[in-house]
């Protein structure tokens, strides 16, 4: 499974990289923001994008919309510190999964698996 994590906090990406390192069958990549994530997806698609909501420049909602239109087969999961009312409702209509910081590896893998299954069903 190919997973792309997106967050503006490098330490957060580093923590996820260490934690997911031993997982067999997971191929992980990490992007520091929306534009970088879209570039990496253009080079090589992913099964799942896991993104923060609040980021400078392009925020999570914009990224999810861009991914949704360019890569409809890619599942989208939000990993956010605190959802703002309004943005949350909009994002939840675009995202296939939702996680609140802080989350454990176990919760992360469960949501990612559910999200990919959901996308697989809808895109057939």
């Amino acid at each position: 499974m190919k997973i792309l994590f997106v967050d503006d906090e490098p330490h957060l990406l580093a923590g996820l990289r260490r934690l997911t390192h031993p997982l067999r069958g997971w191929s992980t990549r990490f992007a520091n923001g929306g534009p970088e994530a879209l570039r990496m997806l253009a080079e090589q698609p992913a099964d799942v994008v896991v993104t923060d909501m609040r980021m400078p420049g392009m925020d999570g909602l914009e990224l999810l919309r861009a991914v949704g239109s360019a890569h409809p087969g890619t599942a989208c999961v939000v990993l956010t510190g605190f959802a703002e009312a309004g943005r949350e409702a909009e994002a939840s209509s675009v995202a296939n999964g939702w996680l609140s910081k802080p989350c454990t590896l176990e919760a992360l893998t469960q949501v990612i698996e559910r999200a990919t299954q959901q996308v697989a069903r809808t895109t057939g």
Binding site: H11, L19, T80, F82, P102, T104
Partner: protein, 539 residues
């Protein structure tokens, strides 16, 4: 012309009675006199003619002779002959309405030997019924006022009392008259009033006093105006503002909570991100320790001598196990994971420390506080509002400790920083072109000045005067209720005797300036005198 000899001044020349009568007849007055027995001895003046009497005509009449024509005369003259001096207003004689003055005549040893009546015409427009009505209206109005109104003699004696309509207030009443003010009020309050009364008598300008009576939370709060009246007297108008103060405090509390609610969303985000990587790293290190422990046990077994295999075989086995457990990766990552975990916990504790000042919303005591700390805390706590859109510049000068309610002041700074961030957001910022929020502190004489400058959207000139009003807001519903700046005004100007000012150019940016007295508010324990107009007399 010959100058009169000063020695002759006591002996005035005799009066020409005929001349005097002509002069009096030319004046629109009535002058009459009765002796102690009630016999008329004088009746002169120009008003006799419209009453169809000639000067001197009624001399020799007794009071009883006048009774059918002037029924009140017996009563008034009688009072006067008993020694009372007074005035009346009447319209008895035809179309004439008269102001009458009743004056006893006394012998040199003080005995009443007669009386003098003097009358002059009142104004044509005088209408006694209207006056009476207006007096009644005035009295009704006065009694409906929610204030106590006291009139004080220059020596501090209570002359009259009009109690407030609200029976809850500590009631002044007739029992206060005529007593010295320091017998009916607590001595410190009486002293405050008397000092103000003294100043009012000199300056002839109104004074405003605020004070509380009673202990702590149970105190009743009063707002009292002291005004100059006639003859050195002063009027004291006392308004019970206990309920208003309580409402203000409540409103302040709820807007504080509202601000806290908005803040907590941002702070949760600021805290949850480091918590995420701290917990991920700890989870990673726990797994790493498990792997290293397992490897250690394998090494011990290999070295223990119970393994019968040759050394080379055992070494190859250990190397394979190390690879399997990804030991090189763990050795490379664990130190970094430890370092980043420590950074994360430091970041969280910084935010929590900065939040601590808000965790005692009821603590209102004055303390000597570091305003630069408050500025730094406000910036940390509001990070989620500005970190994506603004560069924050701090220029913190050397400041002495300032006597203030530090929680309130931090709240004000926080509101100003969040406002600045919102002004930047309204202008629209891009990643390449962040906005700027500059916070500057400095000492100016007896004050500490903090400025918060942004290069955001600015405030339209026509709205600048209104930004400190309650509920004034240009923000969308949900972003704020417009309480922030009015709360700031209450805290800085009302609670701390400071100053809050604004400079803004639409499209260029805004600077808020907060100025606090280093020595704290000029409020004493019981009360404080403030000038009648907001801002007047302050620096």
């Amino acid at each position: 012309m010959i100058q009169p000899d000063p020695a002759d001044r006591t002996s005035a020349p005799p009066i020409d009675v005929g001349e005097l009568r002509d002069v009096l007849a030319a004046l629109p007055v009535l002058l009459f006199s009765f002796d102690a027995q009630g016999v008329s001895v004088l009746s002169e003046g120009g008003l006799l003619e419209p009453m169809q009497y000639r000067p001197g005509e009624t001399v020799g009449w007794t009071l009883n002779d006048f009774a059918p024509l002037f029924p009140d005369l017996i009563e008034h003259a009688g009072r006067c002959l008993r020694g009372e001096m007074f005035s009346t207003r009447s319209s008895e004689a035809d179309a004439l309405s008269l102001d009458m003055h009743w004056i006893p005549r006394r012998s040199p040893d003080g005995e009443v030997i007669g009386m003098i009546g003097f009358a002059s015409e009142t104004s044509d427009t005088f209408d006694a019924t209207a006056l009476e009505r207006s007096h009644r209206d005035y009295r009704a109005l006065l009694s409906a006022l929610p204030d106590h109104i006291l009139r004080l003699h220059p020596d501090g004696t209570v002359l009259t009392v009009k109690p407030a309509t609200d029976p809850r207030a500590a009631q002044p009443g007739p029992a206060w008259v005529p007593r010295p003010i320091d017998e009916v009020l607590p001595p410190d309050i009486a002293a405050l009033l008397l000092r103000a009364a003294g100043e009012v008598q000199v300056s002839r300008r109104e004074q405003l006093l605020e004070y509380g009576i009673g202990p702590g939370d149970a105190a009743e709060h009063f707002e009292t105006r002291v005004l100059p009246a006639q003859d050195g007297q002063v009027l004291v108008i006392v308004r019970d503002v206990t309920r208003r103060r309580a409402e203000e405090a409540q409103q302040q509390q709820s807007s504080k909570l509202e601000a806290l609610g908005r803040l907590s969303a941002g702070v949760a985000h600021e805290i949850n991100t480091p918590i995420q990587f701290v917990s991920n790293n700890v989870e990673f290190m726990s797994q790493a320790f498990g792997s290293m422990h397992e490897l250690l046990l394998t090494y011990r077994a290999a070295l223990g001598g119970s393994d019968p295999r040759p050394w080379a075989e055992r070494a190859a086995d250990l190397a394979a196990r190390e690879k399997e457990l990804d030991v090189d990766f763990l050795l490379g990552e664990v130190p970094q994971a430890v370092e980043e975990t420590l950074q994360g916990t430091r970041r969280v504790s910084t935010i929590v420390r900065a939040m601590k000042v808000f965790s005692h919303p009821s603590a209102r005591e004055l303390v000597e506080a570091d305003i630069n700390d408050a500025v730094a805390n406000a910036v940390v706590v509001s990070a989620s509002h500005h970190k994506l859109i603004a560069e924050v510049e701090l220029d913190l000068g050397d400041l002495p400790p300032v006597l203030c309610v530090i929680g309130e002041i931090t709240q004000v700074l926080l509101n100003l920083v969040i406002n600045a961030a919102q002004a930047l957001e309204a202008r629209g910022v891009t990643e390449g072109r962040k906005g700027r929020i500059a916070l500057r502190t400095r000492q100016e004489g007896e004050h500490v000045v903090v400025t918060v400058t942004d290069d955001g959207i600015g405030i339209p000139y026509e709205e600048q005067a209104r930004v400190f009003e309650a509920f004034y807001t240009t923000k969308e519903v949900g972003v704020g209720t417009g309480q922030g700046l009015s709360l700031a005004w209450t805290i800085v100007v009302d609670n701390h005797d400071g100053r809050l000012a604004l400079r803004s150019t639409p499209g260029v940016g805004t600077t808020f300036e907060m100025c606090l007295p280093i020595a704290g508010p000029a409020r004493t324990k019981q009360g404080r005198a403030t000038p009648p107009l907001v801002g007047q007399g302050r620096q």
